[in-house]
Symmetry: D2
Subunit: 426 residues, 4 copies
């Protein structure tokens, strides 16, 4: 939908204003410590994966209000991510969810991905729902289940996920485990942990040596008394037991109230165990809102830790997989994803603008006010011109969301797919 020529047309009326704003920002005396050109280049290089399961309307247990034109096939989903990537050039990869998106026509998919400039970066297993005709039920757990037959089915499913992923050159398996209990006494807490560790080890063993296993944590939901992997400490302990290919995945919505997430991020980088992110936004729990929509300062502080660690020679170098994992209940999913990527890029841009030398000095001297002001200076900077410049230089739209709307993209998708197409997912 968004050819280079069409993008150029859509950019044209915004170009002059953008250039003024970018120039003003780039030359701002407040940013004299920063290499703005390098910042823009880093923004261009940054890529965040789009989950195949978040291209349709999401919902809650109280209901779901579908929008139209949802992608019903994996091919359609790749098409949707292709639209995003054409617009922002920052979402060149897809996280698959199995069994919702089992690839069938491998050569066809490979061709399609290539056309759109996309890759499959990771595969997510699902042992929190029963699929039709599945022999064993996950009602009382999967990798932690008391019954060996259930555990084996869940292990095999994860191994299958790796197999599907290999067909499309993915290198990452993400394991989110919903296992836990709703009532005190229901589950033997220590044994459930040990069974989980054993099951994960079996999957880990079956994984190719160039793959990474990401172990996600979550304090509650869908279980409301205990979760087998409730916090980063448990994820880390499991990863340590598994081996160097096992890494912790941080989902921003998976924390108890008031958690200082940025410090956890810094710790995990320090330990060489931060494998990836699921970005979303939350005010109460796992609300799965647009990332940055509720706590933009927190998102900035998280990127501040990431940028700081990346610059620090003493921190183990590691590839952090960035993914979005949100639920689009009241917004157009593609618009929501465009916002999400922009919020992420903005937080990253601000983190890149921090005057780290001055900050380190102020921190060493315990000059609290000055240290805080240095950090805030970066946060208060209006980085929209830098993000737009990155879009533009990479070949995308100056304002992706505006272009999406100007093009009537959703209306076109509805025309193609119908008002009532339904996407798999939650």
């Amino acid at each position: 939908m968004f050819s280079d020529q069409r993008l150029a047309e859509l950019n044209q009326p915004l170009l002059a204003e953008h250039q003024t704003q970018f120039q003003y920002t780039a030359e701002s005396p407040r940013l004299r410590h920063a290499d703005v050109a390098a910042v823009v280049q880093k923004l261009i290089d940054f890529q965040v994966a789009i989950p195949s399961w978040a291209l349709g309307t999401g919902g809650t247990r109280f209901g779901r209000f579908a929008a139209g034109g949802e992608p019903a096939t994996l091919e359609d989903k790749i098409g949707d991510v292709g639209i995003l990537q054409a617009l922002n050039r920052s979402s060149n990869s897809i996280s698959l969810h199995i069994p919702w998106d089992i690839p069938q026509d491998i050569p066809g998919l490979q061709q399609l991905l290539k056309e759109k400039g996309l890759v499959i970066d990771s595969v997510n297993s699902n042992t929190f729902q029963d699929q039709k005709d599945q022999p064993q039920s996950y009602k009382f757990g999967s990798l932690s289940h008391t019954d060996k037959a259930v555990r084996e089915q869940a292990i095999q499913h994860n191994i299958d996920c790796v197999r599907y992923g290999k067909q499309l050159d993915a290198k990452t398996l993400t394991v989110w485990l919903a296992d836990g209990s709703n009532f005190p006494g229901q589950s033997h807490l220590r044994r459930a942990f040990l069974r989980t560790q054993e099951s994960l080890a079996a999957i880990y063993e079956a994984m190719p040596s160039d793959w990474t296993m990401l172990v996600e944590y979550k304090p509650y939901e869908p279980n409301f008394y205990s979760m087998v992997i409730p916090d980063w400490g448990t994820s880390l302990a499991l990863c340590q037991a598994l081996g160097q290919q096992a890494q912790v995945l941080v989902d921003l919505g998976h924390h108890l109230p008031n958690t200082n997430i940025e410090q956890i991020v810094g710790r995990l980088r320090q330990f060489g165990r931060l494998g990836g992110f699921h970005f979303n936004g939350s005010m109460y729990g796992d609300d799965d809102l647009t990332t940055g929509s509720i706590k933009p300062f927190q998102l900035f502080l998280i990127f501040n830790e990431l940028v700081d660690a990346a610059l620090d020679q003493s921190v183990p170098a590691e590839a952090v997989a960035y993914m979005i994992d949100a639920s689009h209940n009241v917004k157009d999913p593609l618009e929501d994803l465009l916002q999400s990527v922009e919020n992420i890029l903005s937080a990253y841009a601000k983190a890149l603008l921090v005057d780290r030398e001055a900050l380190a000095e102020a921190q060493e001297a315990n000059d609290v006010v000055r240290a805080e002001e240095i950090l805030r200076d970066a946060f208060l900077t209006d980085v929209r011109p830098l993000v737009s410049e990155a879009y533009l230089r990479a070949g995308g739209a100056i304002r992706p969301l505006a272009a999406f709307r100007a093009e009537g993209a959703r209306e076109k998708l509805i025309q193609q797919r119908g008002k009532h197409s339904v996407s798999t997912g939650l």
Copy 2:
């Protein structure tokens, strides 16, 4: 399933042990301040309504694992509540949910209710989901919607609920409003409130003069930035604006972390505005677990406020409607409801055993330790014999849960209804 004769048979082997335990408890020197016979009578008189929507398996947005033998019709649901009532004699009424349980054959239903010794106590409206072929969508709200046509549809639905309820002699309309917003800016917070107030007034006007409207509050879910009625203060403000037939409904799971719910309960009784309860249990949010399963002391403290207010002449007398509102995700729904009623009766029994005269003295003297010990003495008392005695004297089972299992009740229901019958509800 549980005839008087069958119950007598089921009680027989438990009788001697029960009598020993009851006698020991009734004669305990620790309870010399209490009139144990009167306590048992109050337990016999206490009734808590069963919601028609909680007789099937519940779930979360991540899935639902159905058990078998679920009641698929309103008649079946009445049958299920009849089982509970036969066993515990404390759940003689049903809360209907419209449109899930629109009554059709009124005379037949009346006859069935009479047979089972049941009544319909309240009707719950549903404007948080779209029903098939519904002209207007509630995606962006109902009574608070910006579009008058949507508001009118939602108002009419509530008026219809009253009409259905009148056919079965209900006297209470419960309004839980899911309206709110997911993002800052999405909704104009003050105008949404004013529109809601106006819509509620229209429903209130249409309600018969002997009906009560219960206005429920909830801080979040399914909306995750704002809810139009997030807290008791808002519910109360709306009730004050509506009139004396409007009352606040407290759902135990609808509070922010660490809320002192018992104090809210006491306040609302003080103001003459506590209309009813939705009992359930929670550790994190609106977890909808078995009431009393996570915080049994809190449940006791809530009943302590209720009992204390009921004894206080200066507090406005009012009928409080007790209902259960839980989601049975991993338990047999009927077993869960038997547990719930028992936990409620236990908390009530303990509250009735508090030595209020001594407590008042200690409180007046600020003898903190003594006041606390008096309250704890009641909580620490093993009241299971008193609750069993109440069951027994009222004609039920000494241990309802044990009787349900001994009878193989669920297996019989599965035989009758099949493994795959599905109940309406969440």
Copy 3:
């Protein structure tokens, strides 16, 4: 310390850069809907009161690490606020705390206030601590105490506060009540409320007719089981019982985790009962950090409600008293206050820049993404040039904090007052 001439000297080197930035911002096409000159004027007009008790170093129950040069007398405190006001021209009033700052030499104080361009805006009572030689103890409460003698002492103290305030032309009494209980059973929750209501009524009766009583709420600390006035609903109920001169005071740190404070603010404005604010910042509880330091977006959303209500003819007009109430544990108190005022002005400026007409349209149409983007556009705008312009036009410093440091203000205060002067307060 900061004469007009000295301020001009301090501003001189910053002037050119400031003018460039201001001009760029004022002419930004993104702000074409806004009247930037009017916004700057509103910033100039905005005033936030400084509490007399927050000019010294604060602490926690674990200790206090005093800085030097603290103001030991009320005259010194007025001097400190005079410094702030000279620099930012936005803090022209003082909230007094009795008994920490009982005025003695009234004519002298009046003269001093006049010289500094300051007024006393409110008086805060203290019944949460025992003063030396006080006949009755507040250990178990004050206005809610079971003992009438204690309540009368607390009532009289509040009446005395009004008397002190009248001497210095204050018009507001702020009542923060620490009363509550630490253990279930300790306090009779309903009676404690009724006694409080009665005590407040006695104070209210004794208050001049042109005074306002602000009733603050707080969910916990220093009591950890119940607080007599834990939430806005309770404050509002008390104010309704007292009369139109009673208003609710919102302290940003006095809420349970995850509370949507901006909606409370909007509600109270709607009800005509928002009397004032205590600004501070928090991540966990009543942390009393610099306002805006942890949740800058929330502070903006609060001002968004205030600005919106002020523009709405249907909302009762009312004067909202803005005060800072923070604890400066690790920062120089005056620097912290300069930051606080700047954060408040920034949030206000952003709220003033919201394109309300476009926002209302998007909200009416339930265009969630567009409504959110309109609001975020204002938040993302770098308003530092507007705030600096307001400082400058009002006669202050372009960058108050930088001027404070450039002048060596704290060092001078230490020279004057000594390293070990101690301010009254927490």
Copy 4:
């Protein structure tokens, strides 16, 4: 004050009633799976340490309301613990706090401890406050401070604590670190962690080989943005880096809202890293109330994990140090401690009564209702007769609190020490 003879006199009037209750409980058919005599013996053997700093009145940052007769010297404090131990025979040890309780007359103290049947079990360091004439300030941290001189002072203080402890045969050093930051930017989060790890290693190296270092965690307070050791994951990581003598200490009040603490306890036991507890009660944060006063079910569930792990051969055997760490703001400290010990013993007794064989079966079968009921059966049992029996057999009072009051113990202490003696501590 409580000689054996005096205790016998105090027990006499309660004896008959106690015996009836104990016999009834011991013979209860509900406990037929349990060895009640063995349970009583385990209660007799259980000992929980009393902190020297909690024998005086506690307070909050808003004030402190002293009771009379507080112990002003270490000798007096040993006297107070002697009273507790005489009454309940379950608190035979003392946790010292340095520098509040630096031992002077070692032989005299040893003699006194021996007389009272007490030992010193642990020493707690204090680097969260500045002591008079201390060269370096802890305002900006201690073991994590940016300045090496401060770190060295804090390290030396901890080494001194070990030295003091050795003089009195203690074997445990408890390190609670208040280090952290109040504002984003103030502290470099990763470097603060690394400096802390280095400092702890220096202390660890200096510690005798038969000592244990307990590393406590806390999410906030006195710092309100970040704490260097905020959670069990961080404590564990530090302990792993230090060595096998380093263990995690769990303080019940040091968790974010809604944390499942019992699962953490089980995990740490599994990992062989649960070194000890600080018992207290909380509703909101680190409220430091009487343990078990707010969440008695949680306390039971914690002991359930402890008992279960102790019975499990596959779990590393380890000595868990039980200590109370509460703040007695409105209660008599000794009465509060008697309540605390009793609540702990009660929770332990209930955990010992769990029918673990049946529970394991139900858990294996995922019979949720049955598993829950088995656990609840133990919780609902009135174990007061068992606890009293343990007191009695061990030589203490049937009801320690009643005996303390009957004896007029506090009045006697006030007579001895005066109304205004002040204990060191918070």
